[in-house]
Symmetry: C2
Subunit: 308 residues, 2 copies
């Protein structure tokens, strides 16, 4: 069983979509990554920070999925990171209504001893210096370091971001962010430029339009499953990253061919995540459902042309 | 060898993209459809109309690809349909600078006797009544009738469009048009509504984001090949339709599984079309290039996950 170390936020989200709204519910990149990765035969741990306003039953959700939370710091008297957002009718567009860093402002991640030799490190969206600190605590170079980030860090901490991505293997990023980071409209050209910055592999997430995996002159595309309705896209990108890294950790095979499978696994899990609010769907998800939908992905994209 | 009957415009296009501009060059839906279909072992004919301002060497381009143009009416003293357009930096957006119907205004299509028993009829974008007139001239029901249309007809001739699509098998349409026609944002729901209007199969074209094929509860997705540069998107949708219908006519197999292949063949040919201005790339394209890129499509989308 491979070891997966996950770093990222464990947070409160308040979400409004055209279909309804929630009060503060469990959210955060590390939460979604951990829940997604728990669908594979992997030993995983989350490094993160919360305040003591985080209800025990939320943390129990993670433990119940066999996620090690010994590296999840609980700050006494502290308040948990909080994000409030509203999605438009076009769910690709959202407004951030509130962001309270709270305990995240002074977060100093501590990797548990037993995960300093993890096979795969999944660095969820956070300040690049926190991501770098985790890399530096590893006692041996992980087989694979995957990093997810967002435009916020390109706007506010670009030198730190460019520094940390020199040390990683896979960058996951969305299409607009790839364009912002490289100044290239063509995603093929953008991926080439990103590879020159350090990561040997680039995954470009296009939401409902699927995801692309680039490596040198190779490219693979995973479609998103066409859904009747997307209920709440929150966490879909993190769920994708959790499926991708969790599958690679469980198989301990980081060949390009297996990364293709990992991209499909990530897309598959993300298709569940968006069916309900927040983490709701991911908490109840079982292996049978996952496998059934993987077959749908095969039907969706496999063909057999005989060349003349 | 299957027979393919193609109806659509043969036109002059003047195109401006961020990469350059052209004077009046050969264009039109039937032109692109015919050139694309000529990559398959198919006997095809174009029904269309031009003025005698259309240079013989343009028509010879079609004849040289073994396309029967006996149904291409040449109006003495008439002027050929003319379109002028300019693409933005985002090539998905274009402005129409001029549209002159000319001889198209009074076009009365006449299907050649030898194609009234065609296996496949490909109705390129034109007034729905012209498309219907062609269907009505067939002496036996074709194996497959495919119709392409655009938002212009939804805005100006919706009753006629709704009438003709009752008589067809496959509707090809882009994503925004599918939403306009059905009032559904979800493409899954849109396809279901379109199937209720008549067509048993719906192909939704998403440009650089690929194409979806729907039939009852089945769905297939063909990616677009990620390209370093799209030079000129003019004709890509028609080339897709020509590859789709040409492949189905050549194989004379209209099963859903073979339609998957047809969608890939259409996407493959469209990836060449956009590499140069107008029809330039399609005129020189050979079988070896087509097959080589089909292998790239396989690399791009085929995976082999073993379920646990």
């Amino acid at each position: 069983m491979g070891k997966l170390l996950i770093v990222g936020t464990v947070a409160f989200d308040a979400i409004e979509t055209p279909f309804g709204k929630t009060d503060k519910i469990l959210g955060g990149a590390a939460t979604y990554i951990g829940l997604a990765a728990s669908n594979f035969n992997v030993s995983s741990a989350i490094v993160s920070v919360v305040g003591d306003d985080m209800p025990a039953n939320y943390l129990n959700l993670l433990s119940a999925k066999n996620i090690d939370i010994s590296g999840l710091e609980i700050v006494k008297g502290g308040k948990t990171f909080y994000w409030k957002g509203k999605y438009h009718n076009d769910l690709n567009v959202r407004d951030t209504l509130a962001t309270e860093l709270n305990v995240l402002a002074d977060f100093n991640p501590k990797v548990p001893e037993s995960f300093k030799d993890a096979d795969v490190v999944m660095l969820g969206n956070l300040h690049p210096n926190i991501q770098l600190s985790v890399i530096n605590q590893m006692t041996e170079r992980p087989k694979l370091i995957v990093l997810d980030t967002m435009n916020f860090w390109m706007d506010h901490s670009l030198p730190e971001l460019l520094n940390v991505i020199q040390h990683i293997d896979v960058l996951t990023i969305n299409d607009e962010e790839a364009r912002q980071l490289t100044g290239e409209y063509s995603l093929v050209k953008a991926a080439t430029k990103i590879e020159a910055m350090g990561p040997k592999y680039v995954v470009i997430k296009k939401g409902e339009h699927g995801a692309l995996l680039f490596h040198k002159n190779k490219v693979f595309f995973a479609p998103a499953l066409p859904l009747e309705e997307v209920f709440d896209p929150t966490g879909a990108g993190d769920t994708f990253a959790g499926g991708f890294s969790g599958y690679l950790a469980s198989t301990r095979n980081i060949s390009f061919e297996n990364m293709k499978n990992a991209v499909i696994q990530g897309s598959n899990l993300a298709s569940f995540c968006v069916e309900k609010f927040g983490t709701e769907r991911m908490v109840t998800l079982n292996k049978e459902e996952v496998n059934k939908r993987l077959l749908q992905f095969k039907e969706l994209s496999q063909f057999d042309i005989e060349l003349e």
